[in-house]
């Protein structure tokens, strides 16, 4: 479960992953509707008391604030596929149209940008991979996770090194809004047709004290693209949606 294994992508059927976020009980839906109707009626009554020129507040000139709207109890909206770590409890929601689930286990998942997504964005080449995984914080700190990942990537990107060019640093690294550390690394790997192919990897890691997580975005041939932009820009844009979609155990 590392991006270092990028030369050997494994694909598994998504199976029930896509359905996990879907089903909701009719009772809950009906209850929600009832609550909404009641609330709307109350609200309508409240506001329609006021005629033009007539105050709707008991004491004009004084605050007349009704209580804020109470949560309806409806479940969170899920339109993507929800993956959850069976061993560590953290999760991730992703679009099955943009990302294809690859190798996964109880601690992490690998996502490959779908060929359709790459094509839809106008690219004819390149590859982007995201790996999200976690370990108990007692096993590794974020710094250790990053070091381990760089070492693994070095197996396929022997010349990997930190990208120190101005503007390449990751400002405000976080995973699921948990602040952490992060950096960009670059190097080359052997291309299928021979020759060296450039690779970039954005590696982020964070910990809440109980769990340490790692988020890796690897882009092969990051400069592939069109005059308007390259694959790395596109992959990072899509990656931002993923890195913010990691949920920590116990979080809202």
């Amino acid at each position: 479960m590392t991006a270092g294994g990028l030369a050997l992508p494994t694909r598994r059927p998504r199976g029930d992953q896509a359905a996990r976020g879907g089903g909701r009980g009719l009772g809950g839906t009906f209850g929600t509707i009832v609550l909404l109707v009641i609330f709307a009626a109350i609200a309508w009554s409240y506001f329609t008391q006021a005629k033009p020129g007539q105050p709707s507040c008991p004491n004009p000139g004084q605050p007349c604030v009704a209580p804020p709207r109470q949560p309806t109890g409806a479940p969170p909206l899920h339109l993507g596929t929800v993956w959850q770590s069976s061993e560590l409890g953290f999760g991730l929601e992703y679009s099955p149209r943009a990302w294809q689930a690859g190798e996964q286990d109880g601690r992490g998942i690998r996502l490959d940008m779908s060929p359709q997504a790459i094509s839809a964005m106008g690219f004819s080449a390149g590859q982007a991979i995201v790996v999200v995984r976690g370990v108990p914080a007692s096993e590794a700190t974020p710094q250790q996770l990053v070091s381990q990942e760089v070492d693994l990537l070095r197996q396929t990107v022997p010349d990997i090194e930190a990208d120190t060019r101005p503007g390449r640093e990751i400002l405000g690294p976080e995973i699921g809004y948990q602040p952490g550390i992060g950096n960009v690394y670059v190097g080359t790997t052997d291309g299928a047709a021979g020759g060296a192919v450039p690779v970039s990897a954005a590696i982020l890691s964070a910990s809440d004290g109980r769990l340490s997580t790692l988020f890796v975005l690897v882009v092969v041939d990051p400069g592939a693209g069109t005059p308007q932009g390259d694959l790395e820009d596109a992959a990072r844009t899509l990656g931002d949606s993923l890195v913010n979609a990691v949920s920590w155990p116990g979080a809202t």
Binding site: C57, V65, P75, P76, S114, Q116, P166, Y177
Partner: protein, 579 residues
């Protein structure tokens, strides 16, 4: 209908180039005893092309001395004081001019002097604060003792600047305080971030096991999520309210019409108000589309005045035009330029226009805080990670609007929000400390005083949906196309008109309660509400950040006081409006 692919990326790239120009020189000349000292007006990497053609038209502003400036300040303080009998007795532009400005005869003398020099008056503002004037480069140069030069900024865009010290003729020195615009290098950039790329790739943009309706936020989603629907159901729809949009571009009627048709809006199209020459739709048209359509989503019956000017027109000139026009008491600005260090003088010269509008005329100005997190400079130079904030969002006379990512429930009601930050691309809600404006006395309350506080203005004040993952559905005509299509656009550019429109609803509710005078400048009021018994008017955002500062309980540098529960906020504001 959904556009996709790389076209939006192209727009983003262009926007980045536009933003570069904002880091350049200044246009201000500060007078000292009748002599104006020209500020640095060229960037180090700019190219001077030599003297401008003698006939090149130079448009600039002449700020007029206000003999009653101290009295105006005192009047403004009374207008803002709830214990004063003048509370919210706002002044008209004519009032300001007649009571505090130069006599008409003195302004006539200024005009005559300018015209003798070959400079004509384009606009004479009713509040007698400034004149918008224009003349050939040679005449303008002679008048002020400088030579107007043509230059190119590093992006290759032309502008004009001055060589030499600006000297004001003695016959003008008694009546003129500041010359603005002899250099027009500053070009504000829109704070829009498009989501087409994500959608094109099929990404569904989830957040923490939540997600958004396919296709972005539609008007009905916004109304439900932010508790606006209850107001709308009660007939609060913006009727009778007027919102001015500051635009350095314009919109196409077809774009707004397509949006209206898609969402059942039947009210008249916005009104264009040109500040200077008429503006044709350009690369910033999507920004104007966003502003106008977000407002129409929330307050469809509010009158929208699109004050449009070319990008080399100063903010101050447009604010002066809005004050003089007198119809709007809410303003939305989704454009800005990074603060330090290049444009501090420009900002200083524009501030009086903001202050007069906010205080005396009772106008609330909502300004987008920027889309590069705490690092505004990155908008202008991706390699520059200097901590910086966007102006005019840092003006103490505006309400600065930051951005969030909205998560909803399946019934589209509000679930939670996070401060917008995208660490891989460097996008995020603008926020931080101003380098040039001091913190206003009203910016107080829980969370405001932090370890980073240094007495300077802290932004943003409030927040609204801005992350392109919870972007708004709008209709716009992409470059190279002839018909509008739906797209999703985010950025704090969306959050500013979101607040402007929400405030229009509150003003209408206040008017219905018999308090039709207007709400006035809302900066102080919003902090009072957030720190008082009506604090539930805000969703306090406590997750996310802006790539540097975290969203925390109470005020924070990422989301300010938070986003509104609009119905609760409207009732709070309406209740506080004076009868």
């Amino acid at each position: 209908m959904i556009v996709g692919g790389m076209r939006r990326l192209g727009v983003l790239a262009i926007a980045g180039i536009l933003a570069c120009a904002g880091c350049g020189g200044t246009t201000t000349s500060a007078l000292h005893g009748g002599t104006a000292i020209a500020a640095v007006d060229a960037g180090a990497r700019d190219r001077d092309l030599g003297p401008a053609d003698a006939a090149e038209r130079i448009r600039f502003s002449v700020d007029l001395r206000m003999p009653g400036a101290a009295q105006l300040e005192a009047a403004a303080a009374r207008i803002a004081d709830p214990s004063s009998p003048d509370y919210r007795h706002f002044l008209t532009a004519d009032d300001i001019g007649a009571r505090f400005g130069l006599p008409e005869s003195a302004i006539d003398g200024v005009v005559a002097t300018l015209e003798r020099a070959g400079v004509t008056v384009v606009t004479r503002y009713r509040q007698r604060t400034a004149l918008l004037v224009e003349g050939p480069a040679r005449s303008v140069g002679r008048l002020f003792g400088v030579v107007i030069h043509d230059r190119l900024d590093p992006a290759g865009r032309p502008y004009h600047g001055v060589v030499g010290e600006v000297t004001v003729p003695p016959q003008l020195a008694a009546s003129v305080t500041t010359i603005r615009g002899l250099t027009n290098r500053l070009r504000p950039a829109p704070a829009t971030t498009a989501a087409d790329l994500r959608r094109a790739a099929g990404a569904r943009l989830p957040l923490n096991a939540t997600d958004l309706p396919a296709g972005g936020l539609k008007p009905s989603d916004v109304l439900t999520a932010y508790d606006i629907a209850t107001l709308r159901d009660a007939g609060i729809d913006g009727d009778g309210q007027t919102i001015a949009v500051v635009s350095f571009d314009t919109y196409r009627d077809a774009d707004v019409t397509a949006f209206d048709r898609a969402f059942g809006i039947t009210t008249p199209l916005p009104e264009r108000v040109s500040v200077g020459e008429p503006v044709q739709p350009g690369e910033g048209a999507v920004e104007v589309d966003l502003d106008v359509q977000v407002i129409r989503s929330i307050a469809p019956k509010a009158r929208i005045l699109n004050f449009e000017a070319n990008q080399q027109t100063g903010f101050g000139a447009i604010l002066d035009a809005i004050v003089s026009d007198g119809r709007a008491n809410i303003v939305s600005i989704s454009w800005g330029a990074c603060e330090a260090p290049q444009i501090t003088r420009e900002m200083a010269s524009e501030e009086p226009s903001f202050r007069r509008a906010a205080e005396a005329r009772g106008i609330t100005i909502f300004v987008a805080s920027g889309d590069n997190g705490a690092y505004c400079s990155r908008r202008e130079d991706p390699a520059n990670s200097t901590v910086n904030v966007s102006w005019p969002a840092t003006s103490p006379s505006v309400v600065s609007v930051g951005g969030t990512l909205l998560s909803m429930r399946t019934d589209r009601t509000y679930l939670t929000e996070a401060g917008w930050e995208d660490p891989l691309t460097g996008g995020g809600t603008g926020g931080g400390l101003s380098a040039v404006n001091e913190r206003p006395t009203w910016q107080t309350g829980a969370g405001v005083e932090t370890d980073a506080s240094n007495g300077m203005r802290q932004v943003p004040d409030v927040a609204g949906p801005a992350d392109p993952d919870s972007g708004f559905v709008i209709f716009t005509t992409e470059g190279g196309e002839t018909t509008p299509s739906a797209t999703i656009v985010g950025g704090t550019s969306a959050a500013a008109p979101f607040w402007a429109a929400s405030t229009a609803l509150a003003a209408q509710l206040a008017a219905r309660n018999g308090n039709g005078r207007g709400l006035g400048f809302l900066g102080p009021t919003l902090y009072q509400i957030a720190n008082g018994p009506d604090a539930a008017a805000f969703h306090d955002v406590t997750r996310g950040g802006n790539l540097r500062h975290r969203a925390t309980p109470g005020w924070d540098f990422a989301t300010g006081l938070g986003s509104p529960d609009v119905a609760v906020l409207a009732r709070a504001l309406a209740g506080q409006a004076s009868p």
